[in-house]
Structures are given as C-alpha cells and as structure tokens.
C-alpha cells in the first residue's frame, strides 16, 4: 500500500513541475475543476467527456466493442506502417514482397498475420458494435448524427478491408477484385465508368494495384481517422455513452 501511495505522491509532484504544466497546461489538484481541466485542456484527452458515469465503464452497457474496434484500428495503423516499409505497389514486385516478408523479414509473417487478423477482427467488431448500438436503442436522439457517422465508419472499414485485399497480388486478390469491380460495373447507366475509375483501366492490372494502394494507405485511413475524431467528439457532446437504467428486479 505504501508503494502505491509513493507512486501517487510522486505523480502529483510530477504534475506540478513546470515542464509538465508547459506541455499539458493543467497542474495538479484533485478537485473536480482540476480534473476537468486536465481533460479539457489536453489536446489528446479533450475528445472525451470530462465526467463519465461509473456505470458506463462496466462491461454490460457497451461490451467494450467501440474501444476494441479502436484498438484493432491502432494495431492496423502500426503494423500497416511497418508493412509499408517492405512493400512495393508494382506488379513484378508486390507478390515477391509478400514472399520476402515470409522468408527473410524478421517476424515478417507475424507482422502480416497481425495486420490481416486485426483487419478481420475490426470488421467483425464494427458490426458487433453497431448491432449492440442498434438493439440497445443507443442510436436514438440525441445520438442520431453519431449513428450516421458510425455508418460512414462502417463503410470506410469495409473499403479499407477490400482495398487491402488486392495488395498481396496473388490469385485470391486478383479474382476477388475482378469480381468486386464487375459488381460495380452492374450499376445502372454509369457502371462502366465507375469500374474504370476504380481500376484505372478496364482490367485489374498495375494501375488498379497503385490506386488500391493509395486508397488503402493514404486516403481511406485519413478519412477514417477524421471520422473517428468526429465520432468521439460527438459521444462527448451527445451526453456521453448511452447507459440504460439498471432494471430494478
């Protein structure tokens, strides 16, 4: 116990130093005002509510599905950046880079599998999250706009998953994207144009690979980060997490 007390007092001392205050703007103090300032005045924390009901931190209201989705997203960003160090989005090189990840990059298989499984997990968790929100009725006013943001985030997740599928440039990837882009072609009136825009040509080839790479690594992640920001900010502004009243037995 004394150990915990020591750590606590040391932390308080740290929060009072000038360096800490210069960076985080808030000082020490355990009053509600101090605590609120610590959250509000910090760029990283200000997205979150100053106060949460302790009930909201329990497992049952959320099953932590949103937080888990965010964790997989972070894992994907981290592993994705590492994978970008080893990958060339070019036809002769892309598949060879997969092989090199397997054969010569230290823990390369682990890296790739982590990225892949996290992606699968994220898609699963996003759906689970939305079901949970839907069946709990958490989409109702005042959170109706955040539901819409969530739908866009679902679409971004699916697009990220789909664009990433082409990058290994194996048979599975090639045919998946061939089929997918042919589905896009079925759009009435402008299907062909959409497909052309997607692939940068009329068949899955070097241009499609480059397009999917840029979408997967730049445009879609930036859009997702932006939307995640909006999503979190709106949680706070819409009155925190939706926590239904505990039913009295």
């Amino acid at each position: 116990m004394s150990m915990a007390t020591t750590i606590k007092s040391e932390f308080e001392r740290l929060r009072n130093t000038e360096v800490w205050r210069t960076i985080f703007r808030s000082g020490s103090g355990a009053s509600n005002l101090h605590r609120a300032q610590a959250v509000q005045q910090n760029i990283f924390l200000h997205l979150f509510s100053v106060k949460v009901r302790s009930r909201a931190l329990e497992f049952s209201p959320t099953w932590y599905l949103g937080a888990l989705t965010l964790s997989t997203f972070f894992i994907l960003i981290a592993t994705g950046i590492l994978l970008m160090f080893y990958y060339h989005p070019s036809v002769p090189q892309a598949y060879a880079d997969m092989k090199d990840l397997q054969f010569v990059v230290a823990s390369g298989v682990f890296l790739r599998n982590l990225h892949r499984w996290s992606a699968h997990a994220m898609v699963f968790l996003v759906f689970a999250h939305m079901f949970k929100v839907f069946y709990r009725g958490a989409y109702r006013p005042p959170r109706q706009f955040n539901w819409v943001v969530g739908v866009f985030l679902l679409l971004l997740t699916l697009l990220l998953s789909y664009t990433g599928y082409l990058l290994p440039w194996d048979q599975l990837a090639f045919w998946a994207v061939t089929v997918g882009s042919n589905i896009a072609k079925a759009v009435p009136f402008m299907g062909k144009q959409i497909r052309f825009l997607m692939l940068g040509g009329n068949e899955v080839n070097a241009n499609a690979l480059l397009r999917f790479y840029v979408l997967h690594c730049v445009i879609l992640p930036l859009a997702a980060i932006l939307m995640v920001g909006v999503h979190f900010w709106r949680i706070r502004k819409d009155g925190g997490l939706y926590v239904p009243e505990k039913k009295k037995l």
Partner: protein, 684 residues
C-alpha cells in the same frame, strides 16, 4: 449532487481475483508475442549454419569459421528474376569444408557454369527465395513446383542449349525422340529462338498403299503395330476390330496407282535359280549392301540385329506385295519421293535375289486372325471418318484427307504448365514431371476419350522425353537473347547440278550432313574436299569400306558407274573445301624421311597415339579412332597437319583431343602419317 468541487466516490480497488485474471492474461499475451521472434530465431537456416560451423570447428578449420558469412545468403540476378537463397543452408556448395558430405553440406558437382551465374532454381526448380526446408523443396499451399527429381535435371540445360549438348545425354535423347517418334507431327514444340522441332520418323505415304500390301496386313498392323515389328515407331491406337476393319477398307479404297506401277520387273532369274546357292548369294548381297546399317532383323535369340533408321524387316514377307518390293528395290523414290532409302544401282538379278531373300522372311501367324468381310461403301465411309478423327493424316499422306491443324496440345511451354490447368488421373502425385511421364507412358489412362495413342517406349526413353519436355519452360522464352544457344542444323542446303542429282538419288544426306543439313549417322562432309585425296575417294566410292574397325554401320555399296564416280569426286573435291585452306600450303620438302622418323617417335612414344589408332595391324590395338594404316593414301597432308593442330576446329563434335602440338611436331607427325600407305593393289 455533483455541484461541489470535491471528487466523487472512486470505484473500489481491484480484487485479488481480478488481479490474478489480469496477470494470467498478460502472461499469455507475452508468451504468444514471444512466439514470433522465437520462430525467427529457431529457423532452419540458422540451425544448419550452426551445425556447419560446429563441423568446421571439429575439423580445426579456424579460418573457415572466422571467414564464414552468416545470415541469409542469396544469389540475386535481376535480369533473370533470380532470387535464390538456397546457399543459406547449402553453405558448402563450393566444397570449402572438405569431407562434409551429408546434405545440406554436400559440394556441388563441377558444372560448366559458375554457380553464381544462374542461381539454383533455374535448373533444380523448387522455390528459390524460400528459407525453410519445407517451402524450398516441396509443394506447398502457395507453391506448386517442387524440387526436380535428379533424373530430369538436364531439362535445366535445355532451356538455353537448344541443340545437342555434350554432357546432357538424356536431354539429347529426349529431343531426338520427339522427332524420331513423330511426337512433333501432332504437337508443336517451338524453342525460344523460334526453331520448331521437325519430325524425323519419315512415315510412308499411304496414297498407293494397295500396291504395297494387303488389307489384311493393314488391319493387323493398325490393331497392334508392335506385333508385326517389335521396334515399330507407329503407336498403338487401341482400335477395336470394327474400327480397324473400316479403316483398312478406306485405306485400300483411297489408294491410287503409283507412277511406276506399270513397270514389270522380270522374275526370271529367281525362278531359274532357287535353292541353297541362291539363298546364300542373296544373304551375301544383303550383307554387302549393308542393309543392316539401317534395317534390323530379329535373330533366333529374339534380339534385333541392325540399325533402326529404316523399318524392321523380320516379317517383311508377310507384308509386302512381291511386285511392289521389286519395284521398290529398283528405285524407292518412285513410290515414296521423300524416302531416306538410297537408290541402289542393282541389276534385275540382284533385285530378284534380294526380294526373294526378303519375301522369305514370313510369319504365318501374323495374319492368321485377320479374316475380313469384303469392304462395303458404309465401311469405307466410316473408315474415312475414323481416319480423320484419329489424325492419321498428321503423319501419313492420304488421298482425300487433309493433315489436321492444331490437332494436339501445343507443348511449347509444357515445362511450366500450371498445375491448375492439368487434369490428373486418380491416385497420381500432383506434380508436373509425374504427369508428363504418366501421360507418355499410358495416355489413355487419363480418360477413354483421349486420342493420343500408346507408344512403345522404355522407362529410360520416357525419362528422356520428360526431360526434353520439361526444358520447354515459359521463362526460357523471356531470358536475354544472348543466353540462348541455338541448335544449328537448320539449313536447307542441297547440292546442285548433276552431282546434286546423284547425291539426292543416293540420299547422301540421310546419313551425312553437308553445310548444316543432313543426318548424323556418318561423317560430316562439308569440308571433305580439303581432307581427302582424289584416288582414295574414287576408290572408296567404288567400293566403300569402313575406316573404323569397331563400327557395324557402314556405307553401302551403291554400284555406281565410273561416270557417276567421276562426277561425284569432282564435285566433292571442288565444292566441299574448307575456307582459307589451301591443299598446296604444305611444304613437300618438309615431309622427308627424317621428319617421318621423328614423327614415328612422337606417334608411339610421346603421344601414344596407338592407344586409339592403328598404324600397324601387327602391333597396335587401338579401336577408338579410325585405323591409320593407309592414311597416307586417304588424307591430304595439309588437312592432316591442320587436324593435328586442332581437331575440333575442323570437326566440332570429334572426340580426338587437342594435344597443343608445336608446329614442327605436327609437321613431323604429318610426315610420318603420310608414309602409311596401303600395299599396292588394295585400298584396305
């Protein structure tokens, strides 16, 4: 309640149970995270490098251990797309550690290429960039080309070396079989330089077949060619009785009269002289004409004796019509313009003797079961349909049936056919070499509707064919052009003029090559005019004898007239001269008795020529090279001198070594050889 500035109630502290859960989960996470670096550390290549260093340490090879470059080692050749990491485990390919024998430390056998020049997988297949034993050698989920079994390894050479290659006998045999078994009648086999393999089995035209043989023989033959002649090239189409009867009916019906069918060859002399004398005389004639250089006959022990260049003659009497045989022996080209058989100048008596001798080679059993109902119009029509469907016209010329186009799969890139495109027979291993060899071994086992017939091939022939086909890869087509070594022998040279007509009549090019065209059974004659002396050549054409005591195949005696011999000799001595080669350059004074005496010393003592050649029948026992007892009559001094200096410059395929003779040594040896002359009156 929250409007004061005091903190609200904190959640209770974690219980011990919660802490325990947290601890266990963290531990599991940590362990699972440790798996990846651990797998990385305990990799196959690290294991093998460690044991290599251990062996080296035990053998006290300190410098080897110190200079060893660990880590993943690779051969990277950008222009060939090669990234081979085999050396990561096979660390001793150069044999630096002597005596390390077990794989992966075995030394690579000496090959004509630097090991770094092409990497490993271009010849051995397998997955070059892989760094684990499993992935590098075997078929895995994402790799379908396992290591090539050693017996097909020469296919690697064949990707660049498109012609015959010394040191790759199996590849050479396979390529020769593709031509000689007639595979390339139906299948296209194109090489990276654009050369398309051509058939060399010379199937006879069937346009006048009714003159040559009977419908019963055709029926029995197409049902099972090998029951007529064990060595027959024609494959077994596994026809049923009805189909064979219909096809034979059609073939007889489509036959027309040959241009010489009206010529009657007198049979008077055979009729006049039957009996033991005649048959001995005929056998002598068969021997003297060297028929067995090309044609084989089964002897009583069941072994084939003779060459395989022409059809086997064991049961020829059961096949051919006597009149046709006599016309054929008198002039084969009249019946089959593209035949490889020479036109012997035989007189009617010789024709009668020889045909009588051949007609006696009968086997009454062969046609015993061929009882056919007379051919009906229906049968002929059905036969024509079968002939068209079976693709008979791909090999044989048949009236009214065009040669089929794109009849069989193109085999140009069969050596890298994707396994996804291959239909395997049940129970066979899913890899390309096994598929190809099973397909050659028994094509119909892959499905009853398939058209490819069954060939009679031995195991080693199937291996050779598989090797040749595996060399037909698609990446060979994308290799840099300077790597491709074409096969040569692609010219269409034909001698011209009167001599050309005689040479064509004698089918010289069936056996001899001249200026890149012709067979390889007999010496290349491109520079023959520089090599030989006129008197010898005339004598030889009059009565050929072999120069090499160990050879069975010999040049036949064609019974040329003196006029024909003069024409041929003039032409050969004039036209077939080596460029920049003057027969007069040899200084006659240099070839004196002193020089000859020194040359004899060199011949017997310094260079031991008698181990391969015979200069004196009494003492020498060399049977490898040609006998030199009368070389002074045969060769020109200039040719001999140049030959001694550098044999392979004159005949690239010769096995005679280059001894790097000094000028005066070559001159002395030439002087000695020129003294070796036949005794007066004989050219032997």
């Amino acid at each position: 309640m929250d409007n004061n500035n005091q903190p609200g109630p904190l959640r209770s502290r974690p219980t011990l149970r919660e802490l325990a859960y947290f601890g266990v989960v963290s531990l599991v996470l940590l362990v699972s995270l440790a798996i990846a670096p651990a797998k990385n550390y305990f990799s196959d290549w690290r294991h093998y490098q460690k044991s290599y260093l251990k062996i080296a340490g035990e053998r006290q090879s300190g410098t080897l251990v110190r200079s060893f470059q660990g880590g993943i080692r690779q051969t990277w050749i950008a222009k060939l797309g090669v990234v081979d990491r085999c050396e990561s485990c096979h660390v001793n390919l150069t044999g630096a550690l002597v005596g390390a024998t077990g794989q992966p430390f075995r030394k690579h056998p000496i090959i004509p290429h630097d090991l770094e020049q092409f990497g490993c997988a271009i010849c051995h297949r397998g997955q070059g960039p892989a760094t684990s034993v499993e992935e590098a050698h075997y078929t895995t989920e994402a790799w379908e080309q396992p290591l090539l079994p050693a017996r097909y390894l020469e296919s690697g050479c064949g990707q660049c070396h498109l012609g015959p290659l010394q040191g790759a006998p199996r590849l050479n045999e396979g390529r020769a079989l593709l031509s000689s078994q007639g595979c390339v009648h139906c299948h296209i086999v194109a090489q990276p330089d654009g050369n398309v393999l051509k058939p060399e089995d010379n199937p006879p035209p069937l346009t006048h077949i009714a003159e040559k043989t009977s419908r019963e023989w055709i029926y029995a033959w197409i049902r099972n060619p090998q029951s007529y002649a064990a060595s027959a090239t024609m494959p077994n189409f596994q026809l049923n009785e009805q189909d064979a009867a219909d096809i034979s009916a059609f073939l007889m019906a489509q036959s027309t009269a040959s241009p010489t069918s009206h010529i009657e060859i007198t049979t008077a002399s055979t009729a006049a002289a039957p009996g033991a004398d005649a048959s001995t005389e005929a056998a002598t004639l068969y021997g003297a004409s060297f028929c067995s250089s090309c044609h084989a006959v089964q002897n009583e022990a069941g072994n084939l004796v003779g060459g395989n260049f022409g059809p086997e003659l064991t049961r020829v009497g059961a096949k051919v019509n006597p009149d046709w045989l006599r016309r054929w022996l008198s002039n084969p080209a009249a019946y089959h313009p593209a035949t490889r058989m020479p036109h012997y100048r035989m007189d009617p008596k010789q024709v009668a003797l020889l045909s009588g001798f051949l007609l006696a080679k009968k086997d009454s059993d062969f046609l015993a079961n061929a009882h056919l109902a007379p051919a009906s119009a229906d049968s002929v029509a059905r036969g024509k349909k079968l002939v068209t469907e079976t693709g008979c016209a791909a090999c044989h010329q048949i009236n009214g049936v065009n040669p089929p186009q794109n009849f069989a799969p193109d085999l140009t890139h069969v050596g890298s056919r994707a396994l996804a495109q291959v239909v395997f027979a049940p129970g066979m291993k899913h890899n390309l070499p096994d598929y190809i060899s099973a397909k050659i071994h028994d094509p119909r086992s892959f499905g009853p509707g398939l058209k490819m017939p069954k060939f009679t091939l031995g195991e080693s022939q199937i291996d050779a064919l598989t090797t040749a086909l595996l060399s037909q890869t698609d990446h060979a087509a994308s290799f840099p052009k300077e790597l491709i070594i074409s096969g040569g022998r692609t010219s269409n040279y034909h001698p011209g003029g009167e001599a050309g007509r005689i040479m064509d009549d004698l089918r010289c090019l069936s056996c001899h090559a001249i200026n890149g065209n012709g067979g390889d059974m007999a010496p290349d004659l491109t520079w023959e005019g520089s090599a030989v002396q006129r008197a010898w050549l005339e004598d030889f054409l009059k009565n050929p004898n072999t120069l090499r005591p160990a050879l069975i195949r010999r040049m036949p005696k064609f019974n040329l007239s003196p006029g024909e011999i003069k024409t041929l000799t003039d032409y050969i001595l004039t036209a077939y001269q080596s460029p920049g080669f003057d027969a007069q350059t040899m200084d006659a004074h240099a070839l004196n008795a002193d020089a000859a005496a020194r040359g004899k010393q060199l011949f017997y003592a310094k260079y031991g020529c008698q181990s391969c050649h015979i200069a004196d029948y009494k003492n020498d026992k060399g049977y490898v090279g040609p006998a030199l007892t009368s070389v002074g009559n045969r060769l020109t001094p200039a040719w001999t001198y140049k030959w001694l200096k550098d044999p392979s410059a004159l005949r690239p395929a010769t096995i005679m070594p280059n001894f790097s003779l000094k000028d005066d040594e070559a001159r002395d040896l030439t002087a000695f050889l020129m003294t070796l002359k036949a005794k007066q009156g004989g050219g032997k």
